[in-house]
Every structure is written in structure tokens, then in C-alpha cells.
Chain length 350, copies 4
């Protein structure tokens, strides 16, 4: 039985790790870290766990944690994981960091977009970017795992095969994405009050959202060269779910546009054996309700011959594949377990 | 492996049985009945099951079903199950009926409140009312199981111990309940359109909702005499969840009102060992979000000494404990499985 | 042109006064008080007023305000208005207080339920309780107007005629009410975040909500004797709207229950000429969507002969008739204007 | 007093015309056409109008209507208006058609995208496209007014000045739009049920939505040449509101990208005097909540120097500026009234 500790267990992502691991046959949470709620019953904060979790919230004692657990999930604001990690810690325990601290390989990009100094840049190179379907082999050996962002997971996976196969022009990629409100976290802010969000849709972080360089870095690897994109996130009134609608110009071969079959073949090549990626195919569009509560990624597409563009669409549950689910998937890979263990629950609808 | 057939598998309750049984280690759905969608892929109707269910919708052939399955769930409108059941069928297969056809012991009450003739009244006496925590012993032997209504499950369980123990006056019981919209089913009606329901709350079925006699019958057994109640359902804008707020006058003993400890003791006496009932206790109130997606019933209460009344509050997920979950719980009991098998998922929040 | 100042103009009720007075032909806001946002553009806080309100937020300078305006609306937390009012101020300007400071005539009841000392109890007797349809004559002469609470407005008006006419037993009255989330205000609290409220319903303040004594006091006047009630508020996921469902035992006359006509006649007697009260009648139930954005009160009822009880149901928009709309209605009465001036907008649906 | 008749008065757009005209000082509805509800009280279908509208629904008798009213609003499915209009009718009464029948100048484009034969193509040339801020002069003289679509109004107005001024490359324009559910109408369809739409976001009509050629035609006039765009609508769970997020490559002049000031100047040039268009400016983004219930169009933008693109964002209330409000604005222009008469209500928030 893998013993897991969570730093930041009272945020939405932390609580989702708790939910998932409660059904996991080979792992259990033994440390519910939460600075804000030390000594309070965990189930008094998340009433859904009443009678299911009998534990109190603990402080973030990294040394103690490293002794008691096999894996630490850090579901905390940017900067915290970087301030806690050390060679000594990494020698004892695996770390799966849900923050952005180790996602970007270029520390200057991190410091520019996040506006903070990186406290542990010596571990950036070692850290593995945990987009499971792309980096599986590296993940197996990781000590320090950078769990991808929610928007990024969805945005990258939706476009990856077409970029990798040279079917679309990287310089034309535009990602327009919608997110449910849980992505904004559980902090008490006026902007996230029910009445402020309900019955409204809004763009934010236009041309400067922090997930932009993360998407760009990963897709640049696929493209084989540097690429810049436009990424526009929007907040829409629902609890969970991310929908990325992506636009790119198709690249002609021998004067002809790729066909729907060509596109489908590219998706199949990379995702045909993937349990969690469901390619809906040509003209079938994903909806966030069909992935809610699950670790699935649904992808659909449509070619517009009038404009020679393709529209790619992907959906995930931001708290599952976009955070806690992918973190557990990474844990499974890192510990040699079956990759979908504890993660094969069907989506909840309605 | 128990083979299950579902008649009405494309309604919300039917689809919820599918979702639950996908994770059940000892049962599987082998017949997806749906008259409206015959020959269509089940996952084209419920996209959440894409790649999880590979089956087409079938007609309602009861004879064929009886040969092929061990248990039939009828998640259909009132009257259908009564029109299909027969001694021959019941000799071959167990039936768990999610409609009201066999819930009321007095056929005249059924016919009055539902406005239809009962087609199989000869089976009413045999049918067992499947409120698991109350009728467990009878359920074990049942061939024909009447799965309780959603409002009724919540309303009865919330008040049952206090009535049984004579702590409240049955004649004063008032049940004021709220329901999410999935309780109204998947039929295409203007009244259930998004824009009609969203941003509004409304009472309906005031003083004549069909769940009234069902609550009255079961609570009358507990009271040891006939009782009449007021039951007022309301529709509120959310997908799932029932909240019953119940009022009753406390009965004094030796001139004194029962204390919160007395009330707690009564709940503990009946529910102390129940996996699915979580008594939150004095001054802690249930919220539907804490049970969403799960089979739990959460119950809280508050004594008002000013008015000598008690306010009891209970919550369930109407599609789980109020329909599909309780149906599977009944199946588990009927087939001698562990009662919470396939049903111990934690609630999903947010 | 009446000049109005608002203290607390950046709360939801304050902003609703702004919205209403923008269309009022005889009044205008000249002072947008808001301690939290001093010197910020009002329309930067409420974007709906961009290009409609060109003003900055001001501090709460009561003396200055008294010189510059004809009426002050205090849309502030309990205690503030009481701390600001004085004989000197009241000699210069009319005050319409949307808090509870002057609603209860018994200062000890106020101090017990609100848990604060009353700073200006000498004005309690003079203050007029501004439930327009009941106290219209007193309102005309008021200097200090106590604007009723949202739950109370709806709860009182729904039951008032039946209590006044002796048709129901006051000791049996139970008020079960639902509210949209704007009633909780614009403060940044975790409990009111979108994801905490959405997809959930919950009771709160059971048996101790502060609107209880306010309802009791006013209905006691109607009953001609002291009465105690049960009042249970619930939060449901919508922006606006209150629905009160009220239960009471009917009083027989000559061995007979009152009929629906008797009930209708009682409502007509008190509300037949009221512009803002729409009695829907027997078996027609109000829904909050039909009053959204308007100052209407919709009332329906149903007699249950089985239990000899009546179920009365009322709806209002909590921010309009439950706060800002009634405040403006009171202003109209106090200044001798047509009572529905600026308030006759139709409800917005959907 | 202008007498107005509405064909299709029980759809959402029709009912919104009713709401707006109830506050209009110079117009009144005298004919509530609705084939589905003939002889029923209008207020029994839209409870918000109880005591405000005292009329029954009428059949669609065009000849009778032409005698009794000054203007007919047709808020009906595509094809109906075209089947009713005639020279004789147009000689007697002005028609404002909210359907697409007369929006496209090329009948073959209409027939291709809508899949129906045009029954009155002889009037296409005469019909005026009623985008008020662009076509005001022509609207003044129109007999037959084609009221623009909801997505189109928002999409066109957001990009128009930048295309007209040659600041962006027309061939790169991508419009990604979100809509509330009222845009789907009041028809009873499973896809629009509360539980199907709530807690989900989805794209639809990708690369083939019918508003595409309408946007293209109007923007082509601005560009001075034919242009093709990508337009992707999405459904998000809210009642009202459209948000269009639009992407285009900026055109360099003398090797330099336009600045935010250049962009602002272009918007000011065309919209500086417009009452209903509120240009929020550089880095301020519109949100649908700030226009709800009003006829405003809010527009913001952001230049991304990294990609040399601009992101333009616009919001409207789809039922007001996207349908009924613009229809009344057109009526005001056609009848020589002040353009914002009856339309200057502030947006409703929250």
C-alpha cells in the first residue's frame, strides 16, 4: 500500500486527490496537510468525506512527511513546492507537484510569467513534465514530477498529433478555452462569488495567461521548433470542465488539404491505445458534461474547406485529468501500477 | 457475475444504474432496453459512456430478458412494470421496479393518486417495499421489489426513528422538500427547459403530489397507526439532490421536551450501524452537495424550544439513493452480496 | 428632483437602488457612499453602470450628506445606521435604513438576536416599519424609516390577511423559505463562492435566523396577540428571488373549514387595490422567475382538506421588493410621489 | 401611439418585445400572435406579465393585422415571414422580421445555408439589414426590415471599425462565440433541457452555423471585398448573453503594428457617439453580466505583440440587442422617434 501525503489538501485539487485515492486499491492518504485548518477535522471542511475520512488537518512538515509517506502531492500555490524540495527530501520520497514550479524548463520564462524568483532551479532539469500520454517513459523514472496545468493538458493533447505529424501550421494555432469555476480555487475572492460568476461569461488573462508558455514549450517539442500561440481563457458558470477550441491552418500536401481520414489517422496513431483519450472523430464535438468526474480527454474535430482551417476541440474535467486525476495517473506510472488504477470511474451525468 | 437487464435504460435513472454497475465487481448490464432508441448505440445517447459501453439499445422483450438475465430493473413510467410482470416471469428472474407500481399496498390508493388502473394487483401483496435500512430482512427474499421514490426515501428516513420511538406527534408532521431537476426525467417538456428552470424556484404538486401516500403508508407503519401529512415539493435549479426539511411537534415526557441527546440516541438506535446513513447530529445541517453522486443519506436536526417543535433535515442524491443506487443496494441484498458493493464511492464535490 | 445619497452603495442592495433610481423621473443619486472603494469610479465596480453613472465613491460623511441630499439610504451592516443617526441629522434629511437597526420595537429583542448594543434606541419608537402595503399612513409622516428584511417582507405579506381575518391559527404557522444568493451580500466568504453554492441546497439559521422576531412582531400585530413561529431559510443556487412556503391550520367556523373563496376574499380585501401584490389565487403557485427584477409580490395558496391546513406561497425579488425596490417605494410615499413611480418595470424573464 | 403586432409573441424574443414595449412611451402591443396558444391568456404563458398584459393570444392573420397595426414584428422560424409578406401588406404596415428571411442579399446563399426555398425573393433587395449603428440612414426609409441575428450583431460590431479602417487582415478573422441558452428558443427539445445544458459547455454548428454568411456579408462590405471567416458558436449554461472573442492579424504600417491608441481611435471614430455601444478600451474585457437585460454592446480589446494579433471581445444580451431590443431600436428609427426610447434601462446585476 502506497502511503500518500498531500500538502494543500483543503484546496479543490487536494480534495479531489482525496476522493480519488479513497477508491484506489493500492494507495491511501495518511497526511492531510493544510496550514489554514490545522487540527480541524478534514470532514468538517469537506462534508462529503464525513464518515469516510477520519483525520485531522496537519501542518506542512516536509521532513516528517518524507519519513512517513512514499509520495507527496503538493497542491499549493506557485512557489511553495520550490521552497520545500531538496536533495535530501527527494532521496526519500517522490514528489508530484501540482503547481507550476517545475513545468517550464527555462527558469527565466518561469520568473517572467509568474513574477517570482525560483527557489530551486537546480531541480528544473531533473523534473519530468507529467503529461502521461506523451512522457510516459520519463515519468516512470521521475523523482520530481511536474503535473501539467488544467488548460495546458487539454490544449496540448488536442493539438499534439496534428503538430507532430506536420498537418497544421504551428504559427497559426489559436487556443480559445473555457473553464468551470473550480479552476479558480477555493480562495475567498469577490470575483469568484456565486452572484459574480453565475449568469455570466468572461475572458480573462488575454494574451498573458500563465499557461501560455507551458503550452508553447510542449507543442514546440512536437513541432521541432519554437512556436508562439494565442491562448484566451474564459470563465463560464459551471463547477468543472475545460473545453478548448483550437484553430489552425491545414498544411497542403501536393496541393491538397488533408482529409478527415488523414486527421483521424494522426489521432489514432498517438492515441489509439490510450485508455483515457477518446477521439470522437470528424464532426462529433466534445461536451464537458461527458467527462465530468472522470480522467477522460474527449477530442473531436472539423475541417473547414472554405478557410483551409481545422477546428480541434478537446474537453477534460479540470480537477481530474486537469489536476488530481492526472497526478494519480502519474503516481501509478511512477510506482509501476496499472496506469488507470483507481481512475476508471465513468463520468457522472447529469 | 449477475447479469442485469434494464428496461428504460435511457432515462436518467436507467443511465445511473449503468454508471453504478460499470464499477460493480459482481454485476454487469447485458441488456440496454429503450424503446425510443432501438438499435442506436447506447453511448451515442449518453456520451459519458463512450468507449465504456459498447452496446445497442434493445426493445422491451420481457420473455427474452427473463431468459438472459438474473435481474431486471424497470426504470419506466408508472404502469409499465405492472403490465409486464407475470408469475412465469417472476419464476425466472428478479424484478426491481423503480416505478410506483408496487409501492402502495392499497390498490385503491394507487389508482386514486396515479389515475390509472393497476394491471397486476395480484402481485402487490408479495412485492417488497425496498427501503433497505427499514425492510432489509424482507428484501432478502423478494422476487418483486418496489424501489422507493426519491422524495419518499429521503422524507421517510429523516423522520422514521423519531416516529418509531414516539418522540414526535405524527399528526403534526410537515415535509417541505426541494429537488434537483433530474427528478423530472429526460422527457422533452417546455417546463423543464434550461431557461424555464434556471434562476427560479417553485412549488408544485402542493397537497397532491403522488409521493404523499407513499410517505404516509410507511410512516404509518412506524407510528403504529394511520397518519396524514403535508408534503410540498419544490423544484430548484440544480441537477441532482433532494433536501427534505421536516417539522413536527415534540412529545413531552413527564412534562419535559426531549433533549438533543434523546433525539440523537433515537437516530443512533436505528442508524448507528448503517453504512449509508450519516447522522450529522444536533445543529449540523445537511447540504445536497455533500451527497452528490453517492448513496449516502445525511441527516441533521434542531430543536426549537420556543415552539416545542423539532426541525429534521435530510439529503440524498435523487438519482442514487433516490433511485439507481438504492436499486443496486436492493440487488445486493437480494443476491446475498455485501450491501454496499459497488456503492461506496465518495460524493463528488464541487 | 429629489437628491438621494446612498451609504453602502457598492453592496448588492445599494447597487440596486442605483439601478432603480436611474429610471426614476423624480429622484437621482448624488452621493455614492462606499468606504471600501473611496475615490474609485463607481462604474469600475459595477460595470453595468459604465457610461450611465459618472461618479466616484465617497466616504460616509453624514453631516455633509445631510446638507446635500433630501434622503439617505443606508444599505449597510447592522449597527451602522444606529451609530450615525441623530436628532440634528433627522431634522435635515429623511433616512431610509435597509438594515435591521430600527425594525424591532423591543430593543432587548434586537440586542438578543443581533448580539450588539443598540446605539440609538431613543429613535426606535419614532421609526416606522416600512412594509408599505400595511403601514402606508405612518410611512407618509416618517423621518426615520426601517425598511423590512427580504425574508420578512415575503413571509409577512403572504400570511397577513389570513391572520388578520382569523382564518388560520397563529400558533401553527411555519414558514419555510428559499433564497437566492444575492441575499448573502457581496462579502468575500468561502461559503458564498460559486462552487460552494452551485449545485447545492442547504438550510441555515434553523430556529435562530434574525428575521424570525421581525416576522413574529409584525404578524403579532395582525393576530392581536403574541405569536411564535418556526422560520427556516434555505440557500438555493440562483442569484435573486425568495419563495416562502407557509403552513398553518385553518380555523373552522360553525364546524366548517374556510373555502378557497373565503381565502381569496381575505386576500382581495387587503390587496385588491395594491399595484405590487398579485394574488394568483387557489391552486396557482408563484415562481421566483415571474418576479425577477421587479417590485411585485406574487401569492398563491392551496387548501388541504385532508389535514385541515392551508399552504400559502409567496415570492419576491429579494433585491427589489425585499430591499431596494421597497426602499424606493417608501421614498415615494414619504415624498408624496406616486407610489409605483420608477418601479413599474415588468419582471425580466428568462 | 404606435400600434404593434407580434407574430410569434410566445417565443423568448417575442416576449422580450412585449417586456420592452410595456415601458415604451410611444408604442404598445395590440396583437399577441401565437398559433400554439390561440385564445389563451398571454399572462398564463408568461407569468411575469400577470396583471400587466390583459390579452389573449391570436392567430397569425396578416391581412387583419395590417389593418390594425402600424408595425408587425415577426419573431418566427425561418421561412414564415417570407411566406406572409406581399406588396399589399407592405403598403399598409411596416414589417420588422426577426428571422433570417431577408438578411442575406444573395438568395442562393440563403437557400444553401438554410435549406429552404425562399418564398419572397422579390423583396430581398428592398429589405434593409437593420444593424442600427451601421445602416441607420437606410433604416429610416425601410418598409421591410431584416433584424440581424444575435451572434451576428455581436460579431460584426466588435470587428467592424478595425476592418473598415484596414487595421486587421480580413482573411485571418476567427470568431469564437459563447451564447446563453435562450438563443435556442422555447421549443421542447431534449438537448435544451435543464440537466442537459447545466454544468456543461459545448461547441455546435462548427464551420456550418447559419450566422456565418451573415457575418461574412456585412463584414465584406466593410472590407470592400469578399471575406471568409471561421465562426464557432458554443452553448454555455446561462440564460442570456453572447460573448464573441475574435482574433485577427494586425496589419503593419511602415513596418509597425498599430498601437492600442490606434485601435481605440478606430472604435471611437465609429462608435464615439453611439448610445448603445460602450467601448471599454485596451485591456478591459467585457462580461455578459454587465449588459444583461439591456440594449448595450460592450467592446474591449488586447494587442498581442508576440503574435502580432489582436483579440477583440464583444458582449450583448442576445434577447435585447441580439433580438427584441434591436428590433425596437429599428422601430424607433423607422418611425422617427428618439433612437433609445424605451431602451435606456440599465443592465440588471446580479
Amino acid at each position: 500500500m502506497i502511503k500518500a501525503g498531500i500538502i494543500g489538501s483543503t484546496g479543490y485539487a487536494g480534495a479531489e486527490i482525496v476522493r480519488i485515492l479513497l477508491s484506489h486499491p493500492e494507495a491511501e492518504v495518511v497526511w492531510y496537510g493544510s496550514r489554514s485548518y490545522i487540527d480541524q477535522n478534514y470532514s468538517s471542511i469537506y462534508g462529503n468525506f464525513f464518515k469516510l475520512v477520519d483525520a485531522k488537518c496537519m501542518d506542512d512538515n516536509m521532513d516528517q512527511l518524507a519519513k512517513e509517506v512514499d509520495v507527496i502531492f503538493t497542491a499549493t500555490p506557485q512557489g511553495l513546492c520550490a521552497s520545500l524540495v531538496s536533495e535530501e527530501i527527494l532521496n526519500k520520497v517522490k514528489i508530484i507537484d501540482l503547481s507550476a514550479d517545475f513545468r517550464l524548463k527555462d527558469v527565466s520564462v518561469y520568473e517572467k510569467w509568474y513574477g517570482i524568483d525560483h527557489k530551486a532551479s537546480q531541480f528544473i532539469e531533473e523534473a519530468v513534465y507529467g503529461l502521461c500520454e506523451i512522457n510516459r517513459e520519463d515519468i516512470k523514472k521521475a523523482r520530481l514530477l511536474a503535473n501539467p496545468g488544467c488548460y495546458t493538458t487539454c490544449s496540448i493533447l488536442t493539438a499534439y498529433p496534428l503538430i507532430k505529424e506536420g498537418l497544421i501550421d504551428p504559427d497559426t494555432l489559436i487556443v480559445d478555452a473555457l473553464s468551470g469555476v473550480s479552476g479558480a480555487g477555493r480562495g475567498a475572492k469577490v470575483a469568484n462569488l456565486y452572484c459574480e460568476v453565475n449568469e455570466s461569461a468572461k475572458p480573462y488573462g488575454v494574451a498573458n495567461h500563465r499557461h501560455t508558455p507551458e503550452i508553447e514549450e510542449q507543442l514546440s517539442y512536437a513541432a521541432g521548433r519554437e512556436m508562439l500561440i494565442n491562448f484566451t481563457p474564459h470563465l463560464v458558470p459551471m463547477n468543472r470542465g475545460i473545453l478548448a477550441t483550437e484553430y489552425a491552418s491545414l498544411i497542403k500536401k501536393d496541393g491538397k488539404l488533408p482529409t478527415a481520414s488523414d486527421i483521424q489517422a494522426a489521432y489514432d496513431k498517438y492515441y489509439g491505445d490510450e485508455f483515457f483519450i477518446r477521439v470522437l472523430g470528424d464532426g462529433v464535438y466534445p461536451e464537458t458534461r461527458w467527462v465530468e468526474g472522470s480522467n477522460f480527454v474527449d477530442i473531436g474535430f472539423k475541417i473547414d474547406e472554405r478557410t483551409s482551417r481545422i477546428i480541434m476541440m478537446g474537453t477534460i474535467d479540470n480537477l481530474v485529468k486537469g489536476a488530481a486525476g492526472q497526478a494519480v495517473q502519474n503516481m501509478n506510472i511512477m510506482f509501476g501500477l496499472q496506469e488507470n488504477m483507481g481512475l476508471n470511474m465513468a463520468p457522472l451525468f447529469p
